[in-house]
Amino acid sequence: MLLIPCPWCGPRAQIEFTYGGDADVRRPKDAMAATGAAWHDYVYLRDNPRGSHDEIWQHSAGCRRWLRLTRDTLTHAIIDSAPPTKEPPS
């Protein structure tokens, strides 16, 4: 069971969290103006690295905040944990 550091609540057991996948999926700001390709990438393409992976988790049994976790997908080592980046949708 992974031990996931919640930026607010501290290190917690994986069973307190919900997985959200690739952290760098960005919803097009003006969806209707987005090209079909851009929309396809948003809905269907995900980073899938073997190694360091930026992903989102929700501390669903705790403070219910989504957080950004950097984790090695080969070793499961946790490299970094931070609040979600507030950068505006591209």
Partner: protein
């Protein structure tokens, strides 16, 4: 910058529609014709070379007197040649089956299978050995039924006992709604020409004596959907059997050979770089489920695939207590008993991207708890071994077997939970896709473009969240 996995400038939101139904009709008829003609076109055991010794009870006895010293290697330890017509990346069941059917169905024998480790070392040797075709959607049902039909003749076809055990696959229903959706699926199977039976609670109890159908359970059993022709196959033997048969037809199976780059020019692929030197290839097929994203990236392809770990586990061997494969729709686990006597369990994905061939305890705890909920008398048996496999999870839960935007490069992957049971059909249609540079009717829908056009094959209706399929 990685390309989108299909040659697509843009898709106009109001694009015109092309009717698929006619195509489907053709697919069905074509696949039947193909199947029947091809299955009979080559006599059993054809292509055996002199030095090869057929497996048979007689030869077993004969060898017993010579201390079994005369048996030849099951497949040659080939070294990479300078060039091949077709190179298959990945020496798992799918890659080996593809090579075999390239030779058998299309007479293409200047073929190499490159395996980074040992053949069958990926998911072919890590799954729970279940074969079935109990799918709801026509496309999936027809493809997996083709596979099941191939399984049924494969032991003799390959002259290697794959222990194809059609012991029946039973899905348990625990709510009225579940029973109804199983009925829907069962009827769809029957009307697709696939065997299926709906069982009452009493019929289930009679068929699986160890199963607790009482109200003691949190989610009591209400009934089940049975596919009698479903069952299990000895997984390692599939790799070995295809390897031996492909080798006998002249295919080079090269273990310990890792592909490090895919070479292209403006006209398409020209070859590969490997840990054992450069190899030229006119056509390249990728069959490395679990690592698809990484190998595809060598050709700058970005796939709608995530890699997740799926665990499996076995108990100590005991005398026979379970004659079917049993799965539960409410508690998410499946169980069968191997011929050695081990109870084999599996369940859901661990639920996060992973390339580690091992998982964590929560899923093991849940799978075992689920099993004991249905089979309380197994509580005192003991768990002997656990392991994990890396699953290619697509955005709709269905596989991809298709041409790619790169001429001469073909992709086979995204198998999700379905990889092992699909092995022969996957090899069959992938071989044809490569041989004809055009898909077989049965994989015509397993494209990379379907996500852009919306023609997804979402068997579970879970949407683009791979870990939910």
């Amino acid at each position: 910058m990685l390309l989108r996995p299909f040659s697509l400038i843009d898709i106009d939101p109001i694009a015109s529609h092309n009717d698929k139904r006619k195509l489907i009709e053709e697919i069905v008829t074509d696949s039947r014709r193909t199947l029947s003609s091809r299955m009979t076109s080559v006599p059993r055991g054809a292509g055996l070379k002199g030095y090869e010794m057929r497996y048979s009870a007689l030869n077993l006895v004969r060898n017993a007197f010579s201390g079994h010293r005369a048996w030849p290697v099951a497949w040659r330890k080939a070294a990479p040649q300078a060039s091949y017509d077709v190179v298959i990346i990945g020496g798992g069941g799918h890659g080996l089956a593809t090579a075999y059917y390239l030779a058998r169905n299309h007479g293409i024998t200047n073929v190499a299978v490159l395996e980074k480790g040992w053949i069958g070392g990926g998911n072919t040797g890590r799954n729970t050995t279940i074969v079935r075709s109990n799918y709801l959607l026509d496309t999936n049902a027809r493809f997996y039924e083709h596979s099941l039909k191939l399984w049924e003749g494969l032991t003799q076809e390959l002259n290697f006992n794959l222990m194809v055990s059609q012991r029946g696959v039973l899905n348990l229903a625990h709510t009225p709604g579940q029973l109804e959706s199983y009925a829907r699926r069962g009827n769809a199977m029957r009307l697709n020409g696939i065997d299926a039976e709906l069982l009452s609670r009493d019929q289930v109890a009679a068929m699986v004596p160890r199963l607790d159908c009482s109200d003691r359970a949190r989610f009591p059993v209400l009934g089940g959907l049975l596919q009698p022709r479903g069952g299990t196959v000895r997984h390692d033997a599939v790799a070995w059997g295809f390897a031996r048969a492909a080798d006998q037809r002249g295919v080079d199976i090269i273990e310990g050979c890792e592909v490090t780059a895919i070479r292209r020019n403006e006209r398409g692929v020209v070859g590969l770089e490997t840990s054992r030197g450069a190899v030229q290839a006119k056509q390249i097929g990728i069959a490395v489920a679990g690592n698809s994203s990484r190998v595809a990236a060598m050709a700058d392809l970005h796939l709608p695939i995530e890699s997740h770990v799926l665990q499996a586990m076995v108990s100590e061997p005991i005398k026979p207590v379970l004659d079917q494969v049993v799965t539960s729709g409410a508690t998410h686990f499946y169980i069968s008993q191997s011929d050695k006597g081990e109870l084999v369990f599996g369940g859901d994905l661990d639920g996060y991207n992973s390339y580690a061939q091992r998982g964590n305890l929560p899923i093991i705890e849940h799978v075992i708890a689920s099993a004991l909920e249905m089979f309380p008398s197994f509580a005192q048996l003991r768990l002997m071994r656990t392991w994990g496999g890396i699953m290619d999870m697509t955005m709709d839960g269905s596989p991809i077997i298709a041409k790619t935007p790169v001429p001469g490069l073909y992709f086979n992957g995204g198998w999700c939970y379905g990889g092992f049971k699909a092995t022969p059909a996957s090899g069959w249609v992938f071989a044809e896709t490569i041989a004809n540079d055009a898909p077989h009717a049965l994989n015509e829908a397993f494209t990379l473009e379907r996500f852009a056009t919306g023609d997804v094959l979402d068997e579970r209706g879970a949407g683009p969240a791979p870990w939910l399929h």
